[in-house]
Symmetry: C2
Subunit: 587 residues, 2 copies
């Protein structure tokens, strides 16, 4: 491909909203352009790398026997109503009414579409297991899309779904996917971290996230310094650093109400009472949307959540615990209405209007301090079990650096990460709600188990750039580079033109992808663009090196700082050999 005949609008400047390096470089290298908020057009160069990522994913999916299908992007709302997600999914789901008043969604994920297909086609155990996937457009109506294609509204996802007769078969499907994912990321040149994850709104049990470390990652990950424990903070647990008590110790004085004028924060209270935060029972009021309470779905419910004063409540854990669509702190007005006091004075003692959820750390407090449900008043000498009972005791603690590993007791530490892939066992979640069944060997009706497995293509591509770049631009791994080689004649004219054309043709004939910079630009401009767009091999063709008995060209790896001269007659051979060897190594 000649540079002048492609469309690679490289730029020196970047838009001010391009904060992360992949966004800046994709924009500057002419890979993408902004079409709207969170919406991007891939230009030819960007699309070439995008398609390579897509092809790697497709090959690895096919290799584990998953079959590609293509449902629509616009999906009838009826399926989402059947699964319950029409209501539970929240506003990120783009709902559409068509001209006839029928409901549709622009697919953000496709459990429903796949399950509806399998429901119609599955009749016998002999058809199981089934593993299907698509590589297709998705839309999630992010309120605040950012970081370029890393968190766009429209994106392309590979999503696979497995249907299995039993746990053992599901486990195999799940493990196959995990293996395929590891190969995919390896072939893309990505270092991924695999972590336990909360399966959130998706439900089900058994899940693994494939993360890349990133300063702007929207996931906090916990790792153990000692063992290989790795978990998303949304699910991370830790070794208890408390001892539960079953009743107040004999020495605990009765509860006493104390004046705490103008004391608002836990810090102020600590300094006022001259004690540590660990003796406080922090109590926050949460609003949960679409929560199941004793078997009945409730549109909205409020809870008082108690945790030890030095800790933070983890909303993801709370949300999963309540099987709610969403949880968030209650409004000031709701707090006043439900606790009888302004924000800052809630506590579990005498709290009649709210169900109390207590983190286990609270059950270890037998002489604590907490809000007294009135402005400027707290209780002291509060003991769990004696002065209040929890409606439910459950781990809602946000694990953090310094907590102890639940497996080995080692020190935990935090990193930020971005999720590229997620595999999880759904169990019966969709197959039950959507009435999928088959007849087993004995002719009895059974419900299949299923799993869901996704990889975001746009994010994967952006993450490759995050991991492979320098100040001058992108440094593509060969497997996903838009071209393998860029040929840069110092001037596209005379002998340099003839040599460049011939070398390009020779390489292309052998299946090497070549970009020939035929532009009438200064060499410096061409070199800068070559570095910016990150083509792995650069061949410079200059008059000086061509002159004399043994004409030479200059070959340089984008990832290395030094170039070397190669005899013209050997250049194609050397390049091909190097490229093929490297591609083989990464496959």
């Amino acid at each position: 491909m000649k540079y002048s005949q492609s469309f690679i609008p490289t730029l020196r400047e970047v838009p001010t909203d391009a904060i992360i390096v992949s966004h800046r470089l994709m924009f500057r290298a002419g890979m993408i352009r902004r079409l709207g908020n969170g919406l991007f057009t891939y230009l030819p160069l960007g699309l070439r790398s995008f398609r390579k990522v897509e092809q790697i994913i497709r090959e690895e999916m096919n290799a584990i026997g998953s079959l590609e299908i293509k449902p629509t992007v616009v999906i009838p709302g009826e399926f989402w109503k059947e699964s319950g997600r029409w209501d539970s999914m929240g506003e990120a789901l783009l709902r559409v009414k068509n001209r006839l008043g029928a409901d549709f969604v622009v697919s953000p994920t496709a459990e429903e579409a796949f399950t509806a297909l399998v429901r119609d086609e599955l009749s016998s155990y002999r058809q199981l297991p089934i593993s299907l996937y698509q590589v297709n457009t998705k839309y999630r109506d992010e309120i605040r899309p950012r970081y370029g294609v890393m968190r766009g509204r429209e994106f392309v996802m590979k999503d696979a779904y497995s249907y299995d007769a039993d746990e053992e078969s599901l486990e195999k499907s799940y493990q196959d996917m995990g293996r395929a994912y590891r190969r995919i990321f390896k072939r893309c040149g990505l270092s991924v971290i695999s972590v336990k994850a909360d399966s959130g709104a998706m439900g089900g049990s058994g899940s693994e996230e494939f993360m890349v470390e990133s300063e702007i990652g929207d996931n906090t990950l916990l790792f153990c310094k000692n063992c290989d424990y790795a978990a998303n903070v949304e699910k991370a647990d830790c070794k208890p650093d408390y001892t539960a008590v079953s009743s107040a110790s004999a020495s605990t004085p009765p509860v006493e109400k104390i004046d705490t004028p103008n004391v608002k924060t836990i810090e102020e209270l600590c300094s006022f009472l001259k004690t540590g935060a660990k003796t406080f029972i922090k109590t926050l009021v949460y609003r949960a949307v679409k929560v199941e309470l004793q078997g009945t779905e409730c549109e909205e419910a409020f809870f008082a959540v108690c945790i030890r004063g030095d800790l933070e409540i983890n909303e993801a854990k709370l949300c999963a615990l309540l099987k709610a669509a969403e949880v968030s702190l209650a409004s000031e007005a709701d707090v006043v209405r439900l606790t009888g006091a302004p924000v800052g004075f809630a506590g579990p003692v005498g709290l009649s209007q709210l169900k109390v959820i207590a983190d286990p750390t609270v059950t270890a407090i037998n002489d604590g301090v907490t809000g007294a449900l009135a402005k400027d008043l707290h209780y002291k000498h509060v003991a769990y079990g004696r002065d209040f009972q929890a409606w439910m005791t459950a781990d809602v603690r946000t694990v953090k650096t310094g907590d102890r590993c639940s497996l080995c007791g080692g020190d935990l530490y935090e990193k930020k990460g971005n999720e590229l892939g997620h595999i999880f066992k759904l169990g019966y979640k969709y197959t039950k709600s959507m009435n999928v069944s088959y007849l087993d060997e004995k002719g009895a009706r059974q419900i299949p188990l299923s799993g869901s497995y996704g990889i975001g293509l746009d994010r994967t591509l952006a993450s490759i750039i995050e991991e492979h770049h320098d100040d001058a631009g992108i440094i593509w791994p060969l497997t996903v580079a838009p071209y393998h080689v860029i040929i840069v004649p110092i001037k596209y004219d005379g002998a340099m033109k003839a040599v460049a054309d011939k070398l390009a043709e020779n390489l292309e004939r052998q299946g090497i992808e070549v970009l020939l910079d035929d532009r009438d630009e200064r060499p410096g401009v061409k070199f800068n663009d070559a570095d910016l767009i990150g083509i792995p091999y650069r061949v410079v063709i200059g008059d000086k090196n061509l002159a004399g008995e043994s004409p030479k060209v200059e070959v340089k790896r984008r990832s290395e700082s030094k170039s070397h001269l190669v005899e013209l007659g050997k250049a194609a051979g050397e390049l091909k050999e190097g490229i093929m060897a490297e591609l083989a190594e990464m496959s």
Copy 2:
């Protein structure tokens, strides 16, 4: 690929709404399943052929230097407002509001998205011409989707857009596309008819449609028996079969009102007055939506359209004439309100409340009959020019079999066709409304010309089946077959299994795509499925033919009725040779 490991749910039965053969066969062959009204999931076998069509299109687009990009499917509504199509497009445009109240469309075509990109990137004449395309999901909210993927709501379209500095360059872009389209359809094994087309809501001048003949085609095409005239009825014209008169002849008596009790149709009127339909001035009241009247856009306007009594008004012509978003017959109530009479008694004489559009055939009537704007009353002795004037005279005639060719006077005849592709010159349509410009050689600001070029992939695939099938199933052209060869061991066991596995492996190693029917089914079932799914080459491996000194296998083309025996040792070679030769011939 082993049959048992794919997912090819063939069926004997078809849904009752599957009227056309491609819909029936795609369903029966397990290529597609219905997901919703006008929404289909491609299953593995269907998707393989789909991807082959896609690849052929991509290769031919690349071959003419068009560059692939990928805008989003969900497009900001602002661009559609700029172009004016947010209002003019009608209800087939799926409009969506997101959670923040922003307007979007689910793209039915992408003139706006491409033009917005080019507007941002184009600065100099040196960048022109630009030719860009995408292969991407589209949605058109058909009221009555039908015929399977032939007229679905969601579909995939290859749409290309060219931007050129002058007419000559646009002409070249247009001709390049036409040539690429002819190659695409040839490689898909399709016989296409190329016709002049009305460019409808798209505007612009110079367009060509690529049609396949089809009984259920939603286009009527006119052909000349004598020359190569071919046109869509929406644009077809014919040689005048009348002579315009400038005034009533001296012998025409004055207009006279006559009683026509209980006479409603033109036929009844003819028999009542004992005259032919050619003397009637048929007058219909039309409602036009978003029509431009003397430079002002009007939300809704009504017109009386007059044509000679034996002819039909062509709404596509009328719509194009008025540059309206939509035209349709006025409601009964509107007719009464505007003409003062029930439907059936409209006429141009004395009609004050409506603008009259007259087909030229009406200008030739100097002693005609027409409605008298009152129930059961008509006028006779009506003469154009004397008794009424048209606001506008324009060709709105539906040309039909028996009319004369406008080029050579030959007989015209009709066929039904389905549009697979459409190329047209948009001129300045979008570049002007969306303010695209560049600086020419002299530094002067210029607006580029553009063209728009589409091919529907789903329709193309379905049309291949319409053209290539028999009673037993599909007969795939090799270029788009899901697999080249199906190997059918009579029983997948013992020597037959060993031979089948080895042959499959041998062929696959050579790049031949093989489906190996390893199912435990009766040979009849396997043969029927092989015929139904239409794999071009079938190799049957049976014990009898394998026995003896020189083991043989039976090879049969799907398109031929006879099979022949081939020595086992030569089978792979013969198959490969035949397949490669045929692929080369079709390329």
